[in-house]
Subunit: 520 residues, 2 copies
């Protein structure tokens, strides 16, 4: 249900709760302001004398493994989302819990997808109390309508690592689907009939969870190499007929756009990267999986080829477009966090330069640096942007929670963050006075590219200077907004929201940056 | 100085102290008996806001890095030994400490070598209070003579991981020499002018130390791939002209024997592995770096080739002999903990099947299993063995501490542990009534191979049965001992030891298995 909570104003001016699902929270204090104290979470010390000397941890069924892990009321069960909409394991896990009469579980996936719609029944029946994780599609709608017992907690990929590492979320049982594994629990995503590339989103679970179950449909003799997940962190191994449908990794956001407007935006974005002087030998970029971002990469590739420019690294989500660049010698490396198509999977297996990463290497704010801030330019999507460059990526203008954060917040730390977005979608303007939900603070967002022009954040005088004679259609953000509002007949309608909180958005440091409200 | 300590009798009947260097100890309770409680060590939570956004952590000098790490009295400074006798960094570190007037440091190397003899001066001057780690050669002699201020604490490779992981040893500053690194601190041992293969012995340091310095002589543009050490754990990067002499990796123990007796022992050992039915398709073995163990691998290779047998994996210390087996298709994998020659380094860089491991994957007893117990046969050295199959690998019969444990204790968990040893060395019998120092309990040691016959541990009825018609010279251990004692004219002289303790030997679970006494 939605919750009437005591709210306080945070550094973005948003009202946020001070307690979420029983855990005390720190309101967002500003970018880089919150200083963590204390020590990382400390998993229990284990002993080899409690594990089979021959290394064989295979048990007969998923149910048996869950029983051996001591599955009981109130536990937190985690999983990764490398199969995206093709996951075949987690519905089974909660079906077993339901069958056993276990209640009040917290599901802590790195992301949920439409294939997880059956979890709604488990929430209605009290098997799952609430979900903390990206809620894409039906589960997000369910939460928006105030039907979930607990609050949704949305974290970035880096924020999820931070939350587990810092002990904010304690995982009782991690269930890690693995396309290939050995009896000892070494596991990899880059090979096997269900190969999905890598397992980085499950790495933190494997390190910090009390109990870890590896579920595979391709058991190989020890050793499974590479061991993206290390057997020394694994308690049980389960063999199923099929753990995932890798062909469903390509879903929704990961298709190349065919819209002429969006192709134009993508091309403008690539031109901006070139004209701003970012595209030069040894540079780096990251483009998300959205259709426009994919098109951007293709335009940039052409420009690089023409200019004889080679990147040092490209950050993935990898796609066949990035793989072509690697194999053509247009970049030394792809540093990849998740494969978005099967060419990405193949390349990770075959190419030395296609390196698997984790949210620890790439995004964790509570480490000694991470990769995100070293990237020269990042191209990301957004559902809304306001005139102060604050952006939203989780709710729509009608208030519905429909998307996860992914690595989006983490990527904002790039040296140049660019959001190529259409000026309106379905006759709803995208540039607004105030975003429905603040997911990214405006100070980190440098450039908005629309089909009606490019707006540069006034804080980035260097970019304004670098592109002033470029001939690109650079305009104040307010001008673009006014033009669109005129065209559509005014700003979007206020979303019909109650004052009941149904979820919160975490910042990369674990503080609360905004609340999500129940839709009326 | 040697210490007169309160000693208690442990499960092997040895007298051991209950407090070592101020830390409370648990006496050895028997193999697999001690059950750890509590949680792993928890390093402080860091924040990216305290590290450079551009990822550049390079500072001007080793001295500057140590100062930034807050080097001060009483700290613990750690290092790895992948350069073995060719390390060029750690003497510099303690020279800087001396220059700055810092005292009472604990040096916590994974091993020390003769090249570290200058540390004796630092111990005399109080810069180093004591060393915990393998003390090969002069430093061991120094400790044996009761000259070190604290007690030597000898741990296996797995025991060192366990001690850090469990919080028994807290590392203030880890100084990790790296043949290749980037500005962010990603580092690898497998390439660069000083390539030494891998950096696995420094991995636990990088994860748990408060501050981590990577020292390299080959700085490459980000990203350094592979990242055996992850930059997210690193505070500072220092560039020196030369960090190590990889040609000195091959030193002492890593040379193939030319002794006809030892070649015969090696051949007998290989025959035993064959006749006992261990050598079959998909089997695994590990042979240490000693000259006899190397020769064993060469004999076994010939037998495998003749019989058309392929191993699934070989555990390294890798050498050119193992690399030949991999490249010839006689094994699918080398799972390598340290490269013992430059062919090992090359192969690790070039061959997918040559996999770098760490003490966590291979040896840590306080994990959810490790690789050691999955190995079908392991061939190791020893300085002494007693008639109950207890073995010693750190002291000689004269009581002098001259060797580290390495992975020796950890390897004893193999399915078949074989010690090929000469029946006497320099007219001193090796099979004794009681070993000077118990490093490995007899119940884990299965077979002793000497030039005067093979002794099988009576506990291993299966091996006795399997080889009874093999024609191999299998004899009771007492018979071999009696024959040698007759030949030499009696058992070795009692070592001239005082009752002052100068060091302890840890078991793989962190308990104390024996004491080392001051030599008179």
């Amino acid at each position: 249900m939605g919750q009437k909570l005591k709210l306080v104003k945070n550094a973005t001016g948003r009202m946020v709760p001070t307690v979420v699902n029983g855990v005390k929270q720190t309101p967002f204090e500003g970018v880089g302001k919150y200083k963590p104290e204390g020590s990382k979470a400390a998993p229990p010390i284990r002993s080899c004398s409690d594990y089979p000397a021959d290394g064989n941890k295979v048990v007969g069924s998923l149910k048996e493994a869950l029983e051996k892990c001591g599955l009981k009321h109130g536990m937190t069960i985690s999983s990764h989302h490398h199969f995206r909409n093709g996951d075949l394991v987690m519905n089974q896990v909660f079906n077993i819990a339901a069958e056993k009469g276990v209640k009040d579980l917290m599901w802590f996936p790195s992301a949920a997808f439409p294939c997880h719609e059956p979890m709604i029944e488990h929430m209605k029946n009290g098997v799952i109390h609430h979900i903390e994780g990206s809620l894409n599609g039906p589960l997000g709608k369910y939460a928006s309508e105030g039907k979930m017992d607990g609050l949704a907690v949305l974290r970035s990929h880096g924020g999820r690592w931070q939350a587990v590492q810092d002990g904010e979320v304690h995982i009782d049982i991690a269930v890690l689907a693995a396309p290939t594994a050995d009896e000892f629990g070494n596991a990899t995503g880059d090979r096997g009939p269900s190969a999905c590339g890598l397992l980085g989103f499950g790495l933190v679970d494997s390190i910090y969870a009390d109990k870890v179950i590896v579920v595979t449909d391709n058991l190989v003799p020890f050793p499974c190499v590479p061991w993206q997940i290390q057997g020394q962190n694994v308690d049980y191994v389960v063999v199923l007929d099929k753990v995932g449908e890798p062909e469903k990794i390509i879903s929704g956001t990961t298709k190349l756009t065919k819209s002429p407007d969006r192709l134009y935006i993508a091309e403008l974005t690539a031109k901006f990267v070139k004209e701003a002087g970012i595209m030069k030998d040894g540079f780096s970029f990251q483009a998300g999986a959205g259709g426009t971002a994919l098109a951007f990469a293709i335009y940039l590739k052409e420009m690089m080829r023409e200019a004889g420019i080679k990147a040092r690294f490209i950050r993935g989500g990898s796609t066949k477009y990035l793989v072509e660049m690697l194999e053509e010698g247009l970049t030394d490396f792809i540093l990849d966090g998740q494969t978005f198509d099967l060419e990405g999977v193949r390349s990770m297996r075959e190419n030395f330069g296609h390196v698997n990463t984790s949210p620890f290497t790439s995004y964790n704010w509570h480490g000694k640096g991470n990769f995100a801030s070293m990237v020269d330019a990042v191209v990301l999507g957004a559902t809304e942007v306001d005139v102060n460059f604050n952006a939203n990526v989780v709710t729509h203008s009608d208030g519905y929670l429909l998307h996860g954060i992914g690595g989006w917040q983490n990527c904002l730390f790039s040296k140049c963050t660019i959001l190529p977005i259409p000026a309106f979608r379905n006759r709803i303007p995208i540039i607004v006075d105030e975003v429905t939900t603040v997911v990214g603070p405006g100070e980190l967002i440098d450039v908005i590219v629309t089909e009606r022009g490019i707006a540069i954040n006034p804080l980035r005088k260097d970019l304004i200077e670098a592109t002033k004679d470029s001939g690109l259609p650079i305009r104040p953000i307010e001008d673009i907004k006014a033009e669109v509002d005129d065209l559509i007949g005014g700003p979007p309608a206020e979303p019909k929201l109650t004052d009941e909180v149904v979820g919160v958005v975490k910042w990369v440091d674990g503080t609360v940056i905004d609340s999500i409200y129940k839709v009326r």
